[in-house]
C-alpha cells in the first residue's frame, strides 16, 4: 500500500523475477490505486457525492496526500517509518468515520430501528474492542522496530473492529431486509474486504516479523487495489434502485387483502 510495502515486496521478489518486471509490479501496486483514488475523488466532487459521503471523500484525499508525501521521501529511515505509522493511524480513524457515515445513512432511512441499531452496534464495538485488546495481549508479535510493531498491532486491532462492525451491518440489514443504497453498499463492501485481508496479513506479519516476509504486504497491496476498483464500480455507476417489473397487482392478492380488511373492519 505504501513505499514500505513496495520495498518489502521488492526484497522478497528479487531472486524470483527479472528486476525490471519486479520493480514495475511493485510500483504499479503502490501507485495505481492512488491514481484511481484521485480519479474517483475528482469524479465524486464533480457529481456532488463528496457532500453525501464527506468522510469517505476525506479518506480518499488523505490516502492520496499520504502517498504523495511518502513518495517524496525515498529513504526508508526513521522519519519515513514515523510518517507511515502516523498516516496509518489517521487512515484507521478515517475508516471508522466512513463506517459511521454508512451506518448513519442506513438508520436515517429506517427510524424505527435507530435505537435498536445504536444499542447493537455499541455492544458489538465493546465486544470487538475487548477481543482486539485481548488478541494484542495474547499475541504481542515481532517486528523490525517498536514503531512498526505498534503499527502492525494497531492495524490488526482496527481491522478486527472494522470487519466486525461491517459484518454486523450486513447481517443487520440482511435480517431486516433493509436496502443499503448501492453507493453506501459499495463503500462498506470495499472497506470490509480490505479489513478482512488486512486482519489476516497483519496477524501473519506480527507472527513472522514485518520485514522477513513481504508476501503479506503484496497481498495487502493487491487487495487495496481491488477495493479501489470496487469503490469506483459502485460510486461511479448510476445508483440502482429496486422497482417492480409488474405494472398491476394480481387479482387474487387484492381479493385476499380485501377480505382481510373487511374482516378487520367488522371487528
Amino acid at each position: 500500500m505504501t513505499a514500505f510495502h513496495a520495498q518489502c515486496f521488492c526484497l522478497w521478489m528479487a531472486p524470483r523475477l527479472p528486476h525490471t518486471l519486479l520493480v514495475w509490479l511493485a510500483y504499479y501496486l503502490w501507485i495505481a490505486p492512488k491514481v484511481l483514488l484521485a480519479v474517483l475523488a475528482f469524479l465524486m466532487f464533480r457529481r456532488g457525492l463528496h457532500r453525501q459521503f464527506p468522510m469517505f471523500y476525506l479518506y480518499a484525499v488523505f490516502q492520496i496526500v499520504q502517498s504523495a508525501i511518502l513518495w517524496t521521501h525515498p529513504h526508508f529511515d526513521e522519519t519515513y517509518t514515523r510518517l507511515f505509522s502516523g498516516g496509518t493511524a489517521v487512515s484507521s480513524a478515517l475508516r471508522f468515520g466512513v463506517i459511521y457515515e454508512v451506518l448513519r445513512q442506513l438508520f436515517r432511512n429506517y427510524p424505527a430501528l435507530t435505537e435498536t441499531g445504536r444499542m447493537l452496534f455499541r455492544g458489538v464495538t465493546v465486544v470487538l474492542l475487548i477481543a482486539g485488546v485481548g488478541l494484542a495481549a495474547l499475541l504481542p508479535g515481532k517486528s523490525v522496530s517498536l514503531l512498526m510493531l505498534a503499527t502492525d498491532t494497531l492495524n490488526r486491532t482496527v481491522s478486527l473492529l472494522q470487519l466486525g462492525l461491517l459484518l454486523s451491518l450486513f447481517i443487520f440489514s440482511r435480517y431486516f431486509a433493509l436496502s443499503l443504497r448501492s453507493h453506501a453498499f459499495g463503500i462498506a463492501l470495499g472497506l470490509g474486504a480490505y479489513a478482512s485481508v488486512q486482519l489476516a496479513t497483519s496477524a501473519v506479519l506480527l507472527y513472522v516479523g514485518s520485514a522477513s516476509s513481504p508476501l503479506p504486504n503484496f497481498i495487502t497491496m493487491a487487495t487495496y487495489h481491488c477495493c479501489v476498483l470496487i469503490w469506483m464500480f459502485y460510486l461511479l455507476l448510476p445508483e440502482r434502485t429496486a422497482y417492480f417489473t409488474r405494472r398491476e397487482l394480481p387479482t387474487h392478492d387484492l381479493e385476499v387483502w380485501n377480505q382481510e380488511l373487511q374482516r378487520l373492519l367488522q371487528r
Binding site: 430501528l113 499475541l139 459484518l167 436496502s179 474486504a193 478482512s196 485481508v197 486482519l199 398491476e248
Partner: protein, 177 residues
C-alpha cells in the same frame, strides 16, 4: 501459531461472508419481480388464540399437568410458525414498500414509509418473540405474550391495502375502504 491461524481463518470466513452478501444484494432486486409468490398466509385470529393467556389458563385448569405441557408445547410450536411467517411476509413487504417510498406521489410515499416502519417493527418483535416462545416450550409454565406481533401484523395488513390502493387506483380496492 495456532492463534494466528485462527485469526487468518476468521478473516477468510468473513471475506467469504462479505462476498456472499454482495451476491445476495445483486439478486435482491430480482426477488421483487413477484413478491406475491413469497407471501405466506397468516391467520391472525388463530395466532391470537394460540398466545391468549385466558386460553392457556383454561387449558391449565382443565387438563392434567402432563397433558397441558404437551399441548402447550404444540401450541407454542405453532405460534413460532405463525411468527416466522409474519416475519417473512414483513421482510418481503419492506422491499415492496421501499420501492414505493421513491414514488413521486407524496401520499404513496407516505403510505410506503409507514408500511416500512411497521414491517421493520414486526421483524424486530419476531426477533424477540421467537426465543421467548422456544423458552416457553422448554418451560411450559412461563408467561409469554407476543401479542404486539398480532397487532402490528394487522396494522401492516391495513397499510398494504392502503399502499395497494394508492399505487393501483384502477383496481377498485377503494371499495373495501
Amino acid at each position: 501459531m495456532i492463534i494466528t491461524i485462527i485469526v487468518v481463518l476468521i478473516a477468510l470466513l468473513a471475506l467469504s461472508c462479505l462476498l456472499w452478501f454482495a451476491k445476495a444484494q445483486a439478486s435482491a432486486s430480482k426477488a421483487l419481480e413477484n413478491p406475491a409468490e413469497h407471501i405466506r398466509a397468516v391467520d391472525v385470529e388463530a395466532f391470537r388464540n394460540l398466545i391468549d393467556a385466558g386460553e392457556e389458563e383454561f387449558l391449565r385448569t382443565n387438563l392434567p399437568p402432563a397433558e397441558f405441557r404437551k399441548i402447550q408445547r404444540e401450541r407454542l410450536s405453532a405460534a413460532v410458525e405463525y411468527v416466522s411467517c409474519a416475519a417473512q411476509n414483513a421482510a418481503i413487504l419492506v422491499r415492496v414498500a421501499d420501492a414505493g417510498r421513491r414514488s413521486p406521489d407524496p401520499a404513496t410515499a407516505e403510505a410506503a414509509e409507514k408500511l416500512v416502519d411497521n414491517a421493520v417493527r414486526i421483524r424486530l418483535y419476531a426477533l424477540q418473540a421467537i426465543p421467548r416462545l422456544y423458552l416457553g416450550m422448554i418451560l411450559p409454565g412461563s408467561r409469554i405474550s407476543p401479542a404486539s406481533i398480532a397487532e402490528s401484523y394487522e396494522q401492516m395488513t391495513r397499510q398494504v391495502v392502503l399502499l395497494g390502493c394508492l399505487q393501483y387506483p384502477t383496481r377498485g380496492v377503494q371499495a373495501a375502504l
